[in-house]
Symmetry: C2
Subunit: 333 residues, 2 copies
């Protein structure tokens, strides 16, 4: 049996064929296409099935071997009703995506264009928030393997949160739990488009880091960061880290400030969950120990640990973008 | 069968006899004594058993009818090892309280002084953090009855947190999860004795409210709050609320500011857990709807709710101090 995992992103759609091999889960093949939003949701669903069939072909398989298709979606989803409540980056709201995908799997005409002669009404389709899917993927096959309770944060445009409690995704009755990016760490701070002010992700996401970097560059025209990035609109999540590694004082200051914000929210998350591990993913996590070592030091000071048996492991995500694909593929497990 | 629940507080020790009656759990009798800390932990344990025997006598019962004694403790506990890791208000650290209580239940000489001729090596003793016990009590027999996931906050000297996930206390492998008072809402804010700065409880506990009240009174010598409380050291958690109800402008300002801080942390808690209900307990919760109605309004603006099926119910705790006694008594369930 093979599993299909789809990552429905705002920019790309990726589909992966997943199979159990010994004690682990492996991606056998992957195909992707542009999401091209805004466009008709039926067209998006057609593409999701199309690239899945292509990925299956690539590993000499077909939908005949598939029982489950799982989809990770960047937004609020209702897995029970098979509905996307809202997903800003997909320009979608109240979208019954599971029904639509099932329709396509029963649409013999469309399937014929993909070289498939049968229909597939028996394939079960599951959806999940993409951050939850990624956390689940890291738990099943990555950094959080063997954990009982783990929390994953993804440092990207925002901060995504995924919570595994008792070896299951915790999403509560609204399937909306784990919005870790939207805990306030600076009351009355920077305005967030969620309606709050001072959300953690305004400071500790990649976007937050870029803001801190630009502020420092404006203050300090001699910073090496100007050589690295030339202009403020070329600043990215690497600018400060790379210049800090080269010894630039002002870049070091930026990195220190950034990790301070990151630790502020992370310490709260640990005080709340005392998870076995905190998995750090997203682009910024590629800084590895250069990020994690000072983060651990700050967290040791800020979290409850006196006389406790265990400390939360602070670890880098292992699977990158594959985490979401694996987690989505294996939602049925 | 009867259950014994003990609330081991920094000021008082209370023991209650609990019994199932129809679909609910009831307290049949209660006895208490002073904790008188700092003093020998063995003496404290002796008193815990003594008042439990007295409470049993009061409802014409004895230890013969008891299989479980549960103890709620204000601090970090390890239920597996039966140990209090540390409890500042009890002046205790690494205290193997379960072993000590078991010793007493096997100490025929001491039990004789209580009028008991047998020993009780079969009675099981369970311990839990007191905020968790209270959350469990409200879940089993109070405001959160029938919830699947609920969070309780207790607004007292600090902010206690208790988390129920999937109908069980969530405390994770360190038995230390749920330290909701120690999420930072004001980065680099007021110093907290947990080692962090700007913890939620520094602003939104009863102590936080008293601070805000005193600050306003210092600024405004015409405030009605001076009539109500005479001097700053007589200010308590009621001062601002009572004067606000009487229409005092400056007291209204204090209440508004306080609820703003309360909502800030509560919204983060809801974004993280999306619980069925948030139970608000502790002295300040006695303000009832005068507190909860404006709190709900602020939370509606600050929490994720777009296109979601459910909203977290914001409700007052029902059981007062009995919540911790019931929760402790019923830990075995």
């Amino acid at each position: 049996m093979k599993y299909i995992g789809i990552d429905l992103g705002g920019t790309n759609i990726v589909s992966a064929v997943v199979q159990k091999q010994q004690d682990n889960y492996k991606i056998l093949s992957k195909k992707s296409c542009k999401t091209n939003v805004p466009r008709d949701t039926r067209e998006i669903c057609n593409d999701m099935i199309r690239i899945s069939v292509e990925a299956l072909k690539e590993c000499n398989s077909s939908l005949d071997e598939v029982k489950y298709i799982g989809v990770g979606i960047p937004g609020s989803v209702d897995p029970e009703e098979g509905k996307v409540n809202f997903a800003t980056n997909l320009f979608a709201e109240n979208w019954y995506i599971v029904d639509m995908l099932k329709e396509i799997l029963n649409d013999s005409e469309y399937l014929k264009t993909l070289g498939t002669d049968k229909t597939y009404s028996d394939i079960e389709i599951l959806i999940e928030n993409d951050a939850n899917a990624a956390a689940y993927g890291e738990f099943l096959a990555g950094a959080a393997k063997d954990a009982t309770n783990s929390v994953m944060i993804t440092l990207g445009t925002g901060i995504g949160g995924g919570i595994i409690i008792n070896k299951k995704i915790y999403s509560a009755r609204n399937y909306a739990a784990g919005e870790l990016g939207h805990i306030v760490i600076v009351k009355d701070g920077i305005k967030c488009n969620c309606g709050r002010n001072g959300c953690w992700e305004k400071y500790a996401s990649a976007t937050g880091l870029i803001n801190i970097t630009c502020e420092e560059m404006k203050r300090n025209k001699n910073s090496k960061m100007w050589e690295y990035s030339e202009s403020l609109d070329k600043v990215n999540g690497m600018t400060s880290f790379e210049c800090a590694k080269a010894g630039d004082e002002s870049a070091l200051k930026v990195v220190e400030e950034y990790i301070d914000y990151l630790a502020c929210g992370a310490a709260s998350v640990i005080n709340i969950f005392q998870p076995d591990c905190l998995v750090v993913g997203g682009g910024i996590s590629n800084q590895g120990e250069y990020l994690l070592e000072p983060l651990r030091k700050k967290l040791a000071k800020e979290t409850y640990s006196k006389n406790l048996k265990y400390t939360t492991d602070i670890i880098k995500a292992q699977l990158g973008n594959d985490a979401g694909l694996l987690g989505a593929a294996l939602l049925a497990i």
